[in-house]
């Protein structure tokens, strides 16, 4: 039985988690950067025990626990966790021991990872970095980018070698140079990588669609064209992975559309935030998908296979249908002539990740049956296990054979990986320490938090607060 007295869920098919994270550990820099690249990587994106420095000049979030006043949100979601418990823990001072308990070591320790996968109903997983996705695109040095990409990929390969049937690395690419990217793609293909990641943003003015030569884009042959051809030739799947907009360094133009979300808030004057995490992921992916579908990009690379990660999925049906309409409307203005509708191209060459709570996707499962790939997003704070996805799918009436595709079959088909079942039954609830809030406490807490004004809270204009309050709060956490 589960903790709430319900029968434990079971499954007969292998679950493949197409997007779960590691928290890029320090040993990437301390042990994996090859000697000939150390100086270049130091000037590009370097982490030590104290800080992370981008381009030799800008301190950025590293993902270390010391970056965050409470628990580490990169390592918090896992077995038995949810957003309401996390909110509770944000509101109480946590001891170092408690913070350590809340940090899932599976974010950097493969043995711990496998234990958590067993608890979360995950048989196989594609592991993806975290703060590299945020910071790496802004690196200026091509040599530094290559050195760090090699270091990360070698570390990820070693991490996954602990359980090669269950852990699969996604490669990271030094897109600062098309030639280096091709070199690294070929290298990781030889090591058995099935996916390599690209973030669809305009960092350094290099949005990753620059396949044609341009007057300001460098040499005529050094474009992204050779990168996508290399993806086709190696069979590696392009993993478009999005992230919250964090403008690492000042820029006259936006790198990510999510930056416009941040600007709707007034944190810059000490006010309220509009969290770009809400929609930045979705927006980065939507823009990428929309314009590659309307441009004929997939007709230029007909053997390319692409997975859209961490961007939710329920927006896809409407976007595809609108793109199909525009494709017809602009027939005489399109420069690349094609008779293949955008939706056809997407269904033939693309996959899209969905999360456990995407009920609208499950209720329209026929639109996703052959392209949907499930992701836990563990251990990031909005992550969830496969059991919760199964519950939602059962509620939505998704047939079991379709669940098997959505929860693993499609991803394995995309990556060319054999499925194997390691977990068949939902685990018993995790035993928690005494300080863990019990069910009654949580019920009371949730009721008070969910409707603060009904419980007497007054609207708060944080721009009027003494800013020292914030400083004091951060110092004591």
């Amino acid at each position: 039985m589960t903790g709430n007295g319900q029968a434990r869920l079971t499954k007969t098919f292998p679950v493949f988690d197409c997007d779960a994270h590691v928290n890029d550990p320090l040993e990437i820099w301390s042990n994996y950067v090859e000697p000939e690249y150390v100086e270049a990587v130091k000037g590009a994106y370097w982490r030590d025990g104290k800080q992370a420095i981008l381009n030799g000049r800008t301190a950025v979030l590293s993902g270390a626990s010391t970056d965050f006043p409470s628990y580490n949100p990169i390592c918090i979601a896992g077995p038995g966790m949810n957003k309401k418990i996390m909110r509770r823990f944000q509101q109480i001072p946590l001891s170092p021991e408690q913070k350590k308990y809340l940090e899932h070591q599976g974010a950097y320790d493969p043995a711990a990872r496998l234990r958590d996968m067993d608890l979360m109903g995950i048989d196989q997983v594609l592991v993806i970095p975290t703060m590299l996705v945020a910071n790496f695109p802004y690196i200026e040095s091509t040599e530094g980018a290559l050195g760090l990409a090699r270091a990360y990929n070698n570390w990820a390969a070693d991490f996954c070698s602990h359980a090669p049937q269950r852990l699969f690395p996604a490669g990271w690419l030094p897109l600062q140079s098309a030639d280096y990217t091709v070199q690294e793609l070929e290298r990781i293909a030889a090591k058995g990588f099935r996916v390599a990641l690209i973030r669809p943003i305009d960092a350094r003015g290099k949005y990753p669609n620059q396949i044609f030569p341009s007057v300001t884009g460098g040499t005529i042959r050094n474009t992204m064209d050779k990168v996508y051809r290399c993806f086709e030739e190696t069979g590696i799947v392009v993993g478009m992975h999005t992230f919250p907009a964090v403008a690492c360094e000042p820029s006259a133009t936006a790198a990510s559309p999510g930056e416009l979300i941040s600007r709707a808030g007034d944190m810059h004057v000490g006010g309220r935030m509009v969290d770009p995490q809400t929609l930045s992921f979705v927006f980065e992916a939507m823009i990428w998908v929309a314009h590659i579908l309307l441009s004929g990009f997939l007709d230029i690379y007909p053997r390319l296979r692409m997975a859209i990660f961490e961007s939710n999925s329920s927006w896809i049906p409407s976007l595809l249908d609108h793109c199909d309409r525009l494709f017809k409307l602009y027939r005489n203005e399109r420069r690349i002539r094609s008779d293949r509708l955008p939706s056809e191209a997407f269904y033939q060459q693309c996959f899209i990740a969905f999360e456990s709570d995407e009920s609208p996707t499950f209720r329209q499962w026929d639109r996703f049956e052959n392209i949907g790939i499930w992701s836990s997003d563990a251990y990031h704070h909005d992550g969830a296990d496969s059991w919760s996805a199964i519950v939602e799918m059962n509620d939505a009436g998704v047939p079991v054979e379709v669940q098997a595709k959505l929860l693993g079959g499609n991803a394995r088909r995309a990556y060319g990986i054999d499925g194997k079942v390691f977990v068949t039954e939902q685990a018993a609830p995790v035993e928690r320490p005494d300080w863990w809030p019990n069910a009654a406490e949580m019920e009371q807490f949730v009721a008070a938090q969910a409707y603060p004004r009904a419980n007497g809270a007054q609207p708060l204009d944080v721009t009027q607060l003494d800013p020292r309050i914030l400083l004091e709060m951060l110092r004591t956490m």
Partner: protein
């Protein structure tokens, strides 16, 4: 379903030069034309002026895609048009009699009238006083346009959000004229998004007056960086040499979704509980996702302590409307979410417009019961706009 009454909540005018030559008050005609002017007659290249400088026009060739569609035209037929030739715009975009004839042909009982140029360019006008003068001119022209059939044509006013104080003045003026709706574009007006605290008085007055706030995005393809999402989309898309703009497919949804999210984080839905808010011209199928994402991150951001963490309940309990497009089958497939809050829009006379029968067929294809179809096609909008 042939006798189904239809309310079209996404129907546009394409503004004529009469607004500048006849409706703009004489004292403002020179400065007004310098602040913002647009001329497109279909036979010569369009003229666009913004803040005293040339601006990008909406059309790069002979097809004005913001006013090309007429009843009976299919996407394939528009796709076959020769861009090198000059194509006349649909007279119904500017002439109320032609508009009513088109509505008859489309099976539309009544329509909400939304701007085109006064959406795409208007928020970028820098001089607030001139912005107000142009708002008066546009609103007076639109009022006269709708006067051709007040029971069928519902005008939505524009407000000079460049200055919250002037927006209040114009709101009072159009309320006195009988406007029941006002358009607010989810764009940055002089760096302020509409959730900014400076606009609280505008939202409060909209609530007090019972005027529906229509959140109407524009593609923003001609707009400068940092004003809305469209400029970003076009900037990065240009690398692929597509041959036509693409922002229209994603930017309107993004701008609307950003404002709804900002409303949630700023507590607008609680602070203005009777405010009527309609999200139009940006699609509807994103709504559950955006509400869910707000909920997740509000729970995870403990620093936000004074807003409801269950935004779905809040949104659906209040006077709200969201416009959906003909191709949005998600609306038909998720009736428990949308049947009480969604309302169909034609997008007339833009190139991707459709008549109501196409929407009716879509709803029938997914077996939407007649009662729910009537809500989606008529009752929700009529009840909302009173």
């Amino acid at each position: 379903m042939s006798k189904q009454k239809i309310f079209d909540c996404d129907s546009h005018v394409f503004e004529p030069t009469d607004i500048w030559t006849e409706y703009l008050e004489p004292d403002y005609r020179v400065v007004g034309r310098s602040a913002f002017y647009y001329e497109a007659n279909g036979s010569a290249p369009a003229i666009a002026v913004l803040n005293g400088r040339p601006a990008r026009t909406l059309s790069a060739n002979g097809i004005n895609r913001y006013a090309i569609w007429q009843p009976g035209m299919t996407p394939e037929q528009i796709g076959e048009l020769d861009p090198a030739a000059a194509h006349k715009i649909n007279p119904g975009a500017r002439d109320p009699e032609a508009r009513l004839a088109d509505m008859d042909a489309m099976g539309i009982t009544a329509a909400l009238l939304l701007p085109t140029l006064f959406s795409e360019y208007y928020p970028l006008i820098e001089n607030p006083d001139v912005a107000w003068a142009l708002a008066r001119a546009y609103n007076d022209w639109l009022y006269d346009f709708a006067a051709a059939s007040p029971e069928r044509l519902v005008p939505a006013a524009v407000l000079p959000m460049q200055s919250p104080g002037l927006a209040l003045h114009e709101l009072a003026r159009v309320a006195a004229k009988g406007f029941r709706a006002a358009v607010i574009r989810p764009a940055y007006f002089n760096g302020r998004f509409p959730n900014h605290r400076d606009y609280d008085a505008v939202w409060a007055d909209l609530e007090r007056l019972g005027i529906a706030a229509c959140i109407v995005p524009s593609a923003g393809a001609t707009n400068p960086e940092w004003t809305s999402t469209g400029s970003y989309v076009e900037r990065v898309a240009q690398h692929l040499r597509i041959g036509h703009p693409v922002a229209e497919v994603v930017a309107p949804m993004m701008d609307s979704a950003t404002l709804l999210t900002a409303f949630r984080f700023f507590g607008h839905l609680e602070r203005f509980p009777r405010l009527k808010v309609a999200f139009l011209h940006g699609g509807a199928s994103w709504l559950p996702l955006v509400l869910e994402k707000s909920e997740t991150y509000l729970w995870l951001m403990s620093s936000t302590q004074d807003v409801t963490l269950e935004p779905e309940e809040l949104f659906f309990e209040r006077p709200a409307l969201i416009g959906f497009d003909t191709w949005e089958s998600s609306v038909a497939r998720l009736p428990d979410i949308f049947a009480g809050v969604a309302a169909w829009g034609s997008r007339y006379p833009q190139h991707d417009a459709s008549a109501s029968n196409e929407a009716e067929e879509m709803l029938q294809r997914y077996s939407v019961p007649r009662v729910q179809a009537t809500k989606l096609l008529y009752e929700n909008a009529v009840n909302f706009f009173a």
